[in-house]
């Protein structure tokens, strides 16, 4: 019941929002992108070119919109520092859900990744980290076996190499097309985080729009330090489920990053343009040491 309608709610929101970088626009690259980005939060418009130059942040209200894993990686990692882990891992069909495997394969081509999370090793302003990036364009970044396994392996690898983990979360929750196996990934990842934790290593989560359901109820909430992006939707239950349960309207900022911070569940809300600096400062203060020479990356 907790996750009931969640996918639908998130998907509806997602469709309604009509992010220029998603769906149809992406599947037909020869068609020019929409000229304007219309913000789902303040409904303000911005020229797409300007919006993309501004790291896909709404200039009117500072809503940090959704990124593909590649965009996120480019904005976060030092140039050419990224080495992917487990890039060839792919989903199978545990409950024989009709059409599931084909859907996963098709999305893989469209999103240029085999699954909804990409993990690897990279440096951020010279600090070596294990990074994980969830991509909501891939089945709302729901968590099935592959997402769970990749994240688990990333934490085990980081514990073994004494590295911190930086994880960008985004998800509609557990991937119900994989049945109970998807639910078990919540326990599996939490166990791997416990090991990394016992090894004394730092785990930073960055909650991005939207982080919900089983991901909120597992690794997203377990960071030593929890960062969120401005105006991100973060919660356990879907907005509509709650509305249906309590039969009343919810305030607009309900389940926003700001609401979560006020409720005590987020340490800091950080603008995209300050994230690299913020992360590197935190790493420095946790006694991690820079790797050799700084290679650059995008201009701060």
């Amino acid at each position: 019941m907790a996750l009931e309608h969640l996918f639908q709610t998130v998907r509806e929101r997602f469709n309604k929002e009509g992010d220029a970088s998603t769906g149809e626009a992406r599947s037909r690259p020869e068609v020019p992108k929409d000229l304007m980005f219309k913000c789902p939060r303040c409904l303000g418009s911005t020229y797409t070119e300007e919006f993309e130059k501004n790291r896909k942040i709404c200039k009117h209200c500072n809503y940090h919109s959704r990124l593909t894993w590649k965009e996120r990686l480019l904005m976060t990692a030092d140039r050419d520092s990224f080495v992917e882990l487990d890039s060839r891992m792919i989903s199978v069909n545990p409950i024989d859900f009709p059409g599931y495997e084909q859907k996963v394969r098709d999305l893989g081509e469209k999103c240029q990744t085999s699954e909804a999370v990409v993990t690897g090793e990279c440096t951020v302003l010279g600090y070596k980290i294990v990074i994980g990036i969830m991509d909501s364009h891939f089945m709302m970044a729901s968590m099935g076996s592959v997402v769970g396994e990749k994240i688990t392996r990333a934490f085990e690898y980081a514990a073994d190499k004494s590295l911190p983990v930086l994880l960008f979360t985004a998800s509609g929750g557990a991937r119900m097309q994989e049945g109970i196996i998807s639910l078990m990934q919540m326990a599996k990842t939490s166990g791997a985080i416990a090991k990394h934790n016992e090894a004394g290593q730092l785990y930073i989560t960055v909650l991005t729009d939207p982080t919900t359901g089983g991901v909120t109820a597992s690794f997203a909430s377990l960071g030593d330090i929890i960062i969120a992006e401005p105006k991100a939707l973060i919660g356990f239950a879907g907005r509509r489920v709650i509305q249906d349960t309590i039969k009343q309207q919810l305030p607009d900022d309900f389940q926003s990053a700001e609401f979560l911070q006020e409720s005590g569940f987020v340490d800091i809300i950080v603008d995209r343009k300050h994230l690299r600096k913020t992360v590197s400062r935190i790493l420095e203060m946790h006694c991690y040491v820079k790797e050799g020479q700084l290679k650059g990356g995008e201009k701060a």
């Binding site: 907790a2 592959v146 049945g179 109970i180 326990a187 599996k188």
Partner: protein
Amino acid sequence: MTNQLTASERLMLIRDKNRPTVNDYIPLMFNRFMEFCGDRCYGDDKAILGGIATFPRLGNMPVTIIAQVKGRNIDENKRTNFAMPHPEGYRKALRLAKQAEKFSRPVICLVDTPGAFCGIEAEERGQGEAIARNLMAFMTLKTPVISIVLGEGGSGGALALAVCDELMMLENALYSVISPRGFASILWKDPTRESEAAELMKITAEDLLEFGVAERVIAEADGGAQNDARFTASNISDALEDALRKHCKTDTAKLLEARYEKFRKIGMFDFMEEESL
């Protein structure tokens, strides 16, 4: 003897208003149950009942009990919120589990919930964080944990009490990532296809054994637990006695390693060929 009922028939059975609840089983299985209340942060959630008791099958060994409480009538259900816990329920569970760890008592979790509650206050008080914290903490809890699904094992709200050394299912109990109705309404946009979803989802005790999610299936009375709670309780006690004998004498480091491995190996995936990259 194998259970011939389909998943949707079992769904009907576990919704039977006469199906025994933890309030029936606890007195039949344990002695001297003493309820302990509160999470020490916010309040006391009646959807989760916690406390200590002794287990007569093992020389009245003290155990900690953490149980989700379905009501037997509308008044009880109002009090226990239809067994849908708030964050403070999960935090109470964790507090009692930590207490059990300190005093080397095994923890017995009785799971029976449609799911964690969805509401404004539940979000404000961090429903997601509370569940996540339990998953991580139970994974490293230095005392045996046995979880038994009595009826409904609903999603993350059930999992928060099911990170354990051994998961047992009553033979008609179901455990799923989402209710069959939710599954049908989201994936097929048609909640009336509930029974079809129940068959497809692989949520019965036998399915869970096969996936390595559950370790043991406990027989109910003929026709379902409601026909003889005493008989069913005695079967649960048999299984619990056997599991506790095994896990209580296991060295703690080995116990935790096995618990980690139990969950670590759950997952089904493949690897793409090099050229398809």
